[in-house]
Symmetry: C2
Subunit: 143 residues, 2 copies
């Protein structure tokens, strides 16, 4: 799998950064993973930058959104394994994503009905990607 | 609110520990919070210890379980604000919880349809408790 995460803003919390880096390292043993961090501003500007960046390659575009559909980790693993052209995940910032970004998504995905910070969302997503790869590769993973 | 978290095992990951401690400190400005860590073994033994510990006080017992019902952060805040006798949250270990623990729950709660580690579950729960208190106290919270 060839995965790209397009996110608004940097992760500022040091502990979350450390956890994200740990997960990134693990994922890269199994898959290509690129993280693109775009500058934050208002959601219209952010939306433009996201769509410009995403347009640079052909990939299945999964946008993280509270309105999205939920899936189990196993369903998520199946989803990942079926993509042949690569996957772009898009995570907004504190101000949310513009409707344009949501409209042009291949799929809207919700990680939980509960709301959490975009920093936690990035960590959660990375952990689920690693879990999905573990499921696909029949590797035990829990800690 | 008077909150107790009864969890199996310690959090070993240093970054997750740091994040949990940060959240614990924040929560304690608004509410009483006790974290009880029980020794891990098999799920039957773990279940016995959990039920013994929980029996020591009268509280609404919320058991974290994949089979539980999901709620939004706002619904979770309402749930918390309605409890007058205190709340016990129960988080199992890597081997899951015994059926006895689940049967004797006031409510089964699922944080997400996705699976994650019990360490991440603890962090996620603490973050949602803090978010719930922020909602109840009309305090802005995002980072």
């Amino acid at each position: 799998v060839d995965i790209r995460i397009i996110a608004i803003g940097k992760v500022r919390d040091r502990a979350i950064t450390a956890l994200c880096e740990d997960m990134t390292g693990r994922i890269r043993h199994d898959a290509r993973l690129e993280i693109v961090e775009l500058k934050d501003s208002d959601s219209t500007q952010e939306g433009k930058r996201i769509l410009e960046t995403a347009a640079k390659r052909k990939a299945f575009r999964i946008v993280l959104s509270e309105e999205g559909r939920e899936c189990t980790s196993r369903e998520f693993a199946t989803l990942l394994s079926r993509q042949t052209t690569g996957i772009d995940f898009i995570i907004g910032g504190p101000f949310g994503l513009s409707t344009d970004v949501k409209k042009q998504a291949g799929m809207l995905l919700s990680l939980s009905r509960m709301t959490f910070t975009h920093e936690m969302a990035r960590l959660f997503l990375l952990e689920q990607v690693y879990r999905a790869l573990s499921i696909c590769n029949n590797r035990k993973y829990h800690k």
